[in-house]
């Protein structure tokens, strides 16, 4: 519609071409329903679900963390679950020969002792500090992709650099909870909050 006005000077192929392109564009944008609407976001969480599983393999928990339930590993989510069906697939695997138990909590004080790793989703943005205070009472690995998580005393922040995933680890907080990160994981990550 916009390009049907006549031009005073020589018209190059350009404007007719632009009209066709605009037409094609609007046809595809507004007549074709956007398909796979949620897929783009879901797939980045697919990758994060796999990364959560891997993280658990590189962290050592204190013996007290498994007292009472030697054979299960609690993989928990605080807030809205962004992983969709991905955690159901991760659940089929095991961590250090322990069965994975997936739990979803909406409030930090509801989190039970049988969680060993907890992922704070984006819906926790306004209450990260309070949630971390409550969780610091137990030996739970706190992970999140909320921007600035490591600086706010979260243990592992999932960041994106150059289109690729990375970790930012707050070593101090991790050690204070009695957890230990394998040297090979530390080498691949950005470390903050080092004491010495």
């Amino acid at each position: 519609m916009f390009f049907l006005t006549t031009h005073r000077i020589r018209k190059t192929c350009g404007s007719h071409l632009a009209a066709c392109c605009t037409g094609a564009l609007f046809f595809f944008l507004f007549l074709c329903k956007p398909v796979f609407a949620d897929q783009a976001e879901n797939d980045s969480y697919e990758l994060k679900a796999a990364l959560l599983y891997k993280l658990a393999l590189f962290i050592e928990w204190p013996k007290t963390a498994f007292q009472g339930n030697e054979h299960s590993f609690g993989l928990c989510v605080l807030g809205e679950n962004p992983f969709g069906t991905s955690l159901d697939i991760v659940k089929k695997r095991s961590i250090n020969s322990r069965k994975i138990n997936v739990r979803i909590f909406s409030k930090a004080d509801e989190v039970k002792k049988d969680c060993h790793l907890i992922f704070l989703s984006q819906s926790n943005q306004q209450s990260v500090k309070q949630a971390l205070l409550v969780l610091s009472l137990q030996p739970i690995l706190t992970v999140s992709d909320i921007s600035g998580f490591a600086e706010k005393n979260g243990m592992i922040e999932m960041i994106t650099i150059d289109d690729r995933n990375g970790f930012r680890i707050n070593r101090q907080v991790l050690q204070q909870a009695g957890l230990k990160a394998a040297a090979s994981l530390l080498q691949l990550s950005d470390i903050v909050g080092d004491k010495q």
Binding site: T12, A18, P34, V35, A40, A50, F58, L185, L188
Partner: protein, 674 residues
């Protein structure tokens, strides 16, 4: 018949890319991830969806963020080319080393209504108010993102942020660790960049880079070599400290040295009066910048910044040495539950040394100016999660016009989580540049009985141009895959640049023409820069971001612009900006992941005609194909401006640059993370 071929080519490509690619089933892919070693998982490419939109939602302005992914996928090799994807930005390449870049109209080689900064350091030249884009060629790999705000930013950023603010933010040293080598080899451009980053101690990261570039000359519209090739060598470093007590310190410096081929003009009273000479323009300079941020508490954060720049540009007709020293302090303070106040003070000292020629000179040749500024802005939450009101102003005292005030107010309404409506009324000011007040430009031409001399001079009484802008915007997130951003504006300008002619007089006798007295050497036709143009502009900007699938991303932007100016003397020349702005512009980018290691990007652009300089409308296309050869090694093939062997984008009336065209080009790029 040429038309047909182009259309078929475009339709063909559109058909191929718009056909959804097959995807693996979710479960199979996740199982694959779970089997990979951690290192390989961290090398898988991520599509970050919401990072951009989260920050934009809170801003009551027409803002567009060019992410580093956009930069990487665009195939662009310089900043002006990147700006073409932003609605409302007018980008036109004049020749191989010069661009006209503006926001919402008034484009030209000395487009002066745009404030451009790198990490908060102003990069426009106080000589003309425009930006020398040839010396802003920092390696694109060190840019984290570019924030483009169309519309006045005077309230926070001060004078010259009349039609827009561009802030190019570079990556912190933490994000560029390790070594990287980027090699570009093409028929128009060759470039080698080496980057290296490391840690000094646990909390100090640094990076250094060295870059060399050579750009070939382009074609004249009339045919023949345009003699506009250029070479630039650059090096720089950046260091970031994270200190205890929530303090961050950043230090960076750059140094550059280069040369452009150009066509200069020599003006004289004897025949042939005005000759074109092929010469070289040499540029060199250094800049240093430091920033100290301290988070005093959860409610209070201060930033202190200082920078120094030294730029030299030597051309046959004019030499310029410019020193700028700037100090800035800013404090962000949360007051109560519902208010956030930002205030700041600044001081800038600019000193220059120029050497002119008969063609162009500055009177006085040397000048020192001080700029004092203070600003305050209050953001008040009238209704939590729904209504926010922002009011503020910047007050400046400068060496050209004295005291200037730039107040503004904005309102942000969030009816629900998916929509944002914002409105703004602001005042912005464009203070005179050195050229407006001090330049004398002479042009001699043959006449009878003595040559005629047109002389345009700046005057001390040249005032600031003012703008009152009314803006309205709407943003909507339709679903996880599609979002829309639109803005409407109406700009009311006063005291814009125009010229006023004086009576022609024979020199040196000072008698009226005809110049028959024996002592007279020329007829002087004087003219001065005056603020006698006013008018208004209005337009619409629209951008849509759509992800039809996980492997396919479509980004489109459209802008409409209409200028109507009035010169007090009804001068056609003064109303030229009307015909220098394109009425319609469209950009369509589509990014496809053909496989986990191959990507394809297509960028289609349409820019409407510029009737004042007889530049027709054009449609162009860039194509980029990239493949990960192995971990950390990426090969890309980029073809630019494919649709025409060459096309014109801009002809400048203010320089002796002959009309030059942008040519079709091809380059190969190897990005190797060592």
């Amino acid at each position: 018949m040429r038309c047909y071929k182009k259309e078929l080519l475009v339709y063909g490509i559109l058909a191929v890319i718009l056909w959804p690619t097959t995807t693996l089933s979710n479960e199979k892919r996740l199982e694959g991830y779970l089997d990979m070693p951690l290192q390989d998982l961290l090398a898988v490419k991520v599509i970050s969806v919401s990072k951009k939109s989260q920050t934009i939602d809170e801003i009551a302005a027409a803002v567009h963020v060019i992410t580093n992914r956009d930069i990487h996928r665009s195939g662009a090799t310089n900043i002006p080319d990147l700006l073409r994807m932003v609605p409302g930005m007018n980008v036109a390449q004049i020749d191989a080393n010069k661009w006209a870049v503006s926001s919402r109209g008034f484009n030209g080689i000395w487009a002066d209504k745009l404030l451009v900064m790198i990490d908060g350091r102003s990069i426009y030249t106080t000589l003309s108010g425009g930006v020398y884009w040839d010396i802003q060629n920092i390696p694109l790999e060190i840019i984290d993102h570019i924030e483009v705000i169309r519309g006045p930013g005077g309230t926070v950023w001060g004078a010259n942020a009349v039609n827009g603010v561009i802030n190019i933010i570079t990556r912190s040293a933490n994000d560029t660790q390790g070594g990287a080598l980027n090699v570009i080899a093409g028929n128009e451009e060759s470039r080698v960049t080496y980057l290296y980053g490391n840690r000094l101690e646990k909390n100090i990261h640094y990076r250094v880079y060295a870059d060399g570039l050579n750009h070939d000359s382009s074609e004249l519209t009339a045919g023949g070599d345009a003699r506009d090739s250029w070479d630039m060598a650059r090096a720089g470093f950046r260091a970031d400290w994270r200190m205890p007590g929530r303090q961050q310190f950043m230090l960076q410096a750059d140094v550059y040295d280069g040369a452009n081929e150009k066509t200069s003009s020599v003006d004289s009273l004897t025949a042939p009066f005005n000759t074109r000479v092929e010469t070289e323009e040499e540029v060199r300079g250094v800049n240093m910048q430091g920033r100290w941020q301290q988070t005093l508490s959860d409610n209070s954060k201060t930033t202190f910044q200082a920078y120094y720049t030294h730029d030299e540009r030597d051309a046959l007709e004019f030499d310029d040495k410019r020193d700028t020293f700037d100090l800035d302090f800013q404090h962000q303070l949360k007051v109560g539950k519902n208010q956030e106040i930002v205030w700041g003070i600044g001081y800038r000292h600019v000193e220059d040394d120029t050497r002119g020629s008969r063609l162009v000179s500055a009177q006085p040749a040397s000048r020192e100016d001080k700029l004092y500024s203070v600003f305050i802005q209050d953001e008040i939450i009238l209704q939590p999660d729904h209504l926010r009101w922002i009011i503020g102003s910047k007050f400046e005292h400068n060496g050209y016009t004295g005291f200037e005030a730039q107040p503004g107010t904005r309102l942000l309404w969030t009816p629900d989580k998916q929509q944002v409506v914002w409105g703004a009324i602001s005042r912005a000011v464009r203070t005179p540049s050195r050229a407006n007040q001090d330049f004398i430009i002479t042009n001699t031409f043959a006449a009878f009985p003595v040559p005629g001399v047109i002389q345009v001079s700046g005057t001390e009484t040249y005032k600031s141009s003012t703008l009152i802008a009314y803006e309205l915007g709407y943003r909507r997130q339709f679903n996880r895959a599609m979002s829309l951003d639109s803005a409407l504006f109406y700009n009311d300008y006063e005291k814009l640049l125009g010229t006023a002619s004086g009576a022609a007089v024979c020199q040196p006798s000072a008698t009226p023409p005809p110049c028959l007295l024996p002592g007279d050497t020329h007829l002087l036709i004087p003219s001065t820069f005056v603020n006698n143009v006013s008018g208004n502009t209005y337009g619409v900007e629209l951008s849509i971001d759509w992800r039809p699938s996980d492997r396919w991303h479509v980004q489109t932007s459209y802008s409409f612009l209409k200028l109507s100016l009035d010169s007090a003397v009804d001068s056609a020349i003064d109303e030229t900006p009307e015909g220098l702005s394109p009425k319609h512009q469209l950009s369509l980018r589509t990014s496809v992941e053909l496989s986990t290691s191959t990507e394809m990007d297509i960028w289609l652009r349409y820019v409407d005609e510029l009737p004042a300089i007889n530049v027709p409308s054009y449609t162009e296309m860039d194509l980029r194909l990239a493949k990960d050869l192995s971990k950390g090694l990426e090969l890309a093939v980029v073809a630019r401006n494919l649709l025409d062997s060459s096309h014109a984008e801009f002809i400048t009336t203010q320089n002796s640059i002959p009309p030059t065209e942008v040519e079709r080009s091809l380059y190969l790029q190897l990005l190797w993370k060592i």
